[in-house]
């Protein structure tokens, strides 16, 4: 999944001369919390609702007036993403730098924006949780052919896989979380158990044999 599949295209932007007051009003009106600051088609900064509130707080040492310009308080340079970035890379950037949003730049033009909420939406799509399905959690040996063997078993039973997530565990084992379109999740889980995989979810599955 790439950034361009989850980003909001053509985000609302402001100029460095926009006042704090206008920027705040715009956020309220549009229900957003991040505004990229653009000058001559180039991204020059970003302001968040938090930046605005901190800058104008009476608790600040030298609070800004509402008619101050955003260029005085914006963050820059701005961390950005590219439309072709895999979402996991962008997620990593956001977590490591502790930021809640990334403007998306293509050839120095702002073409979109992604926020942490978009990453959660992406997570829902990746896990297939929005499609009618049952859930399986399986542990298997981390070696070639195991996943193929499981996929074959599902295919033989005409069970469609809506999503499949896999991640490594310690000691040569891999975990697999699948969403599959079957009403007969327990029967299927028992068959998976019979085939030599360890079924962790649904709980208490015993092999048929």
């Amino acid at each position: 999944m790439l950034i361009e599949e989850v980003m909001h295209p053509d985000p609302i932007t402001i100029s460095p001369e926009t006042t704090l007051c206008d920027a705040y009003a715009l956020m309220q009106e549009k229900g957003i919390r991040h505004l990229p600051v653009v000058e001559k088609d180039r991204l020059v900064g970003i302001v968040t609702d938090r930046d605005l509130r901190l800058a104008t707080s009476r608790l600040a040492k030298r609070p800004f007036e509402p008619d101050a310009e955003v260029k005085n308080i914006m963050s820059h340079p701005v961390q950005t993403a590219h439309p072709n970035d895999p979402i996991e890379i962008a997620t990593q950037t956001m977590r490591e730098l502790k930021i809640g949003c990334l403007p998306v730049e293509d050839e120095f033009r702002v073409v979109g924006i992604v926020t942490a909420a978009d990453m959660l939406d992406a997570m829902m799509r990746l896990t297939g949780v929005k499609r009618p399905s049952g859930r399986l959690d399986i542990r298997m040996s981390d070696k070639p052919g195991e996943l193929a063997r499981l996929a074959q078993l599902l295919s033989d039973r005409k069970v469609n896989i809506h999503s499949i997530l896999t991640y490594p565990e310690a000691e040569d084992q891999a975990r697999l979380v699948l969403r599959v379109n079957t009403m007969e999740i327990r029967t299927l889980a028992a068959a998976i158990c019979d085939a030599g995989f360890e079924v962790l979810w649904p709980p208490h599955i015993s092999c048929a044999e």
């Binding site: 009618p132 049952g134 009403m183 007969e184 999740i185 029967t187």
Partner: protein, 383 residues
């Protein structure tokens, strides 16, 4: 008042049997064949009204035109490209010739039930089919093709009625909920085993409806291994106040029997006694909240021996008859041979029906908290 007005009207058509997804498929038409034969063997009154098949025009009220066409073609034996895009050709929804016709008659049955109620011909309808709560506008799912329930509910709302939909099938009634998610004339209530692993994986308590439909969609995801007593407390704690607050004009009930303890597809632990109490309770709630107007459909239920008994109990309860004790020996012999499984001697389960549940207290506590959480989350809207 004519006697038939007070009596429960039963709907069925032999063509229902054509909705047959194959001998290995759990959604077997034999369940209703066994039920009818059981009623005949008991020599009780069995006269049903035969519906017409649902028309294309009716289906269009609920389903996408493209989807309707694909199902007709698949059912006529035509090869379908991208069948899986429509949820077809899977283990749950295999393509079988003639399946559309069977489904159309069953949809027609639920529609006829709605018509009888709107024309005030009766107060209680039992439709011996339908209940396809997993069908979506353009997607077959969970053994369902066309959503008969949604269609009947839509007919009622067009008639100007407020409708309460109660889904006691063990699976979440996702298709029906979704189609009325922002509708303020329809309350949907689904009691089901939690979707933590069970299909369709939805039906969480935060799903409360959108916009005008807010706080009108209730979900009661029960802990696996929930027993009857705990189940009925939840009905009293959530369903009863919901219906008395909403005051619908009619109650539509999807009476799937797959919450029975012996059901192979899920893990709730209702016994036939719990079902009998539940059916009485539902009728009582309809009497109190909507002048007794009620439309029952069937639904899931995959332990054949249990499903048939539960629906027989429903039939008796709706007619106000005393339940027979034993299952007729000749009926048992006849069907044991056909289904290759033993059938019990009695209509009701023998108690205790299963071994004690080690987590019983924990489960009951979780379900009590569930009642509280649901009621808290709608309190502000139910003024």
């Amino acid at each position: 008042m004519a006697a038939s007005y007070l009596m429960c009207r039963v709907i069925y058509h032999p063509k229902y049997q054509a909705y047959d997804l194959g001998p290995e498929h759990p959604f077997s038409p034999l369940r209703v064949a066994m039920l009818l034969d059981l009623l005949h063997t008991y020599e009780v009154q069995v006269d049903f009204l035969e519906p017409l098949a649902a028309t294309q025009e009716m289906l269009l009220e609920i389903h996408d035109p493209q989807y309707i066409q694909i199902i007709q073609e698949a059912s006529a034996g035509k090869k379908i490209a991208h069948a899986e895009h429509y949820g077809l050709g899977t283990a749950d929804n295999p393509i079988k010739e003639g399946m559309a016709e069977g489904a159309l008659f069953q949809v027609g049955g639920t529609v006829l039930g709605a018509k009888l109620l709107m024309e005030d011909q009766t107060k209680k309808v039992l439709q011996l089919g339908g209940g396809f709560h997993h069908a979506h506008p353009g997607l077959a799912a969970g053994f369902c093709l066309y959503n008969d329930l949604a269609l009947a509910i839509k007919k009622f709302t067009k008639f100007g009625w407020h409708v309460a939909y109660l889904d006691i099938d063990v699976h979440h009634g996702d298709g029906v909920q979704e189609m009325f998610y922002s509708n303020d004339k329809v309350m949907t209530i689904s009691l089901h085993e939690s979707g933590e692993y069970l299909f369709p994986g939805t039906g969480w308590i935060h799903e409360l409806g959108r916009g005008m439909g807010r706080a009108l969609k209730l979900n009661i995801p029960l802990e696996p291994f929930t027993e009857g007593t705990s189940y009925l407390k939840v009905v009293e704690g959530v369903v009863e106040p919901a219906l008395s607050w909403f005051r619908p004009d009619v109650l539509v009930v999807q009476a799937g029997a797959d919450a029975h303890f012996s059901d192979p597809l899920a893990d709730l632990l209702l016994t036939t006694y719990d079902y009998e109490r539940l059916f009485h309770k539902i009728i009582e709630m309809a009497d109190q909240s909507c002048k007794g107007r009620i439309l029952f459909t069937l639904g899931g239920g995959y332990a054949m021996a249990a499903t048939v008994r539960i629906w027989a109990i429903l039939y008796y309860v709706l007619h106000g008859w005393e339940l027979p004790d034993r299952l007729p020996a000749e009926w048992r012999q006849r069907w044991q041979k056909k289904i290759g499984k033993p059938l019990p001697e009695y209509l009701h389960d023998r108690l205790p029906a299963y071994d004690p549940i080690p987590r019983k207290e924990e489960i009951e506590r979780a379900n009590r908290q569930l009642i509280q959480r649901i009621m808290d989350s709608v309190a502000a809207d139910w003024l």
